[in-house]
Amino acid sequence: MVFPGSNCDLDAYHAVIEAGEEASYVWHMEKSLEGFDAVILPGGFSYGDYLRCGAIARFSPIMASVREMAESGRPVLGICNGFQILTEAGLLPGVLLRNRDLKFICKNVFLRVESTASPFTKALESRSVLKIPVAHGDGNYFVDGETLWSLEENGQVIFRYCSADGEVAPQFNPNGSVSNIAGVSNARGNVLGMMPHPERVCEEITGGTDGLLLFKSMISFLKGGMAGELVNS
């Protein structure tokens, strides 16, 4: 997906290519996603973050098709601003508030894989640790206590901020997100929103390849691959 103000669309495109699949850009004014198996809503500043991050993009004409894709069970990944758009659209629970310390944070963080129930983590090892960068000003994930309980109960928390060896504690939480949450899915598991940028770490030249695992997992899911098949590769 490309919205006016998207700026991680090229990286997301190349991540899919790097993972061995075909990809195309779809402008937000399009109406159909026919022929696509999955959709990625990239990071950036759609509509200049006017009003609230993602608030206006969610009314783009293409969003009806994104909703259909989500409801059909196909993989939908929202990264950073894409995550904000999916929460604004009601396709994911919660909201992204201003970072606790008000600063725009741009650095590498560690994520622990909390659930392998989503297409994007299906082929990964549960509790494994990924090194992926964040770059956001509004990434402080919030849900009320009751919703948080149901997310935990349903296994919808997919990633949590942690230390290099996988310890989840407040000091490894960059932005104040409730319960160190870095990524959540819908109840069915096929829609994932995450603040960190896996598309930025898909080649060694950009500092790592941990992000590529998510895209490979998604492709493996679409091809009917086995759970955990990337663990030893």
């Binding site: 009003l51 604004e88 508030l97 606790r100 310390d101 008000l102 402080n140 919030f142 104040g176």
Partner: protein, 81 residues
């Protein structure tokens, strides 16, 4: 006709901007500032007779406020709702 929409953070939602402003006021010597909360005012000019309160409320719910984290109120032509 004019609608003035006030969007504020729900109680219980952290407002780090408000906290930073409170601390700034405090360091400037304004003692006694207990809490600062930052919200938005949105002014909408309407063509007469086209949109009623129900429609403005719909605008608030669907776009102007995110009711997961924000509350809203509005006034029509200066009349408090």
């Amino acid at each position: 006709m004019k609608a003035t929409v006030y969007v504020t953070l729900k109680n219980g939602i952290a407002d780090p901007q408000g906290l930073a402003v409170r601390n700034a006021l405090d360091s400037m010597g304004f003692d006694g500032v207990k809490r600062v909360r930052i919200g938005k005012i949105i002014e909408i000019e309407l063509e007469d007779g086209c949109l009623d309160e129900t429609k403005v409320e719909e605008m608030c719910r669907s776009l102007l406020a995110n009711t997961v984290m924000e509350d809203f109120t509005f006034e029509m032509s200066g009349e408090k709702r």
